[in-house]
């Protein structure tokens, strides 16, 4: 893959509007039984504006920015060889239904290790007011020829 990707800042990905039913669907898929994820009254009683998304829901928004990286014509990333190495989320606050979120990706490092390439990216996810919500950091391993 292209080592000159390191440091590249992509334009903000299209905004993502977090829907209440999507939060519930995702919460069911990760085996949540927390009322905060399903019941707006429980979420409001706990101080949130609406149902709270599970912690890893941020990946859905991050994905919009990763698609820009993986699809960049000069990146040289063969998607069929990509394996997820590490994942991290650093939160300023929880995501709630009604949030309009925008992810902007920066390639923080590109390394080669034993024939494989490792690309680490930070997707900064902000709300409609521009305030930081969560930063999603992924390391993708692009396997070399075997």
């Amino acid at each position: 893959m292209n080592p000159e990707l390191q440091g590249r800042v992509f334009p903000p990905a299209p905004p993502y509007l977090v829907g209440r039913e999507k939060v519930r669907e995702f919460a069911s898929a990760v085996f949540s039984t927390s009322p905060l994820n399903f019941d707006p009254q429980a979420a409001i009683a706990a101080g949130y504006a609406d149902v709270v998304a599970p912690p890893t829901f941020a990946v859905v928004v991050q994905e919009l920015s990763l698609a820009q990286l993986l699809g960049a014509p000069d990146a040289g990333i063969d998607f069929s060889r990509v394996v997820h190495g590490d994942q991290r989320f650093s939160y300023s606050r929880a995501i709630v239904a009604g949030d309009e979120l925008t992810a902007q990706l920066t390639v923080s490092s590109v390394k080669t290790l034993g024939g494989h390439s490792l690309v680490t990216s930070d997707s900064v996810i902000s709300d409609a007011s521009g305030a930081h919500v969560v930063t999603a950091t992924s390391t993708l391993v692009v396997r070399g020829d075997e």
Binding site: F26, V30, T33, G47, P54, P55, E63, D86, Y91, A94
Partner: protein, 140 residues
């Protein structure tokens, strides 16, 4: 057990849960997350890339592994950071599925809250490395 403040000690197990993954779980997660990579629901595609069969999404494993912490915390705190390393895939057999066991242990305590370390195992082996959740506890 509810999350308390000032009552946590390093080594305390705060939550323990087991999850039964089936092919339906993977299809459900594919739809919910938008990750439609066919190695998570088609054996023929998985085999064509050298796997024995369908694997669980790494992000599904990461997503369910934090749930015992979410449910222990309730409204008493919030998660400020969560990280994992994907060290071993989880094959999900069409007949027998896969059982994933999560144990959440206090790894560190400080003024802001705690670090909870997750041990996530399938078939006796850990599947996530450095799986750590930072939690802020109200009133901590």
């Amino acid at each position: 057990m509810a999350a308390g403040t000032g009552s946590l000690s390093v080594g305390d197990v705060v939550a323990r849960q087991s999850y039964e993954l089936t092919r339906e779980s993977l299809v459900r997660y594919a739809g919910a997350s938008g990750d439609f990579n066919p190695i998570h629901y088609r054996d023929d595609v998985a085999r064509s890339v050298g796997l024995d069969g369908v694997l669980a999404h790494g992000m599904l494993t990461m997503g369910l592994a934090v749930q015992p912490v979410v449910e222990w915390l309730g409204a008493a705190g919030s998660i400020t950071d969560y990280q994992v390393r994907f060290t071993r895939p989880i094959p999900v057999d069409g007949e027998s599925g896969a059982t994933v066991i999560v144990v959440a242990t206090v790894g560190a305590v400080d003024d802001a809250g705690a670090r909870i370390d997750l041990t996530v195992t399938f078939d006796g082996s850990t599947v996530l490395g450095k799986a750590q959740v930072r939690v802020a506890l109200a009133g901590a």
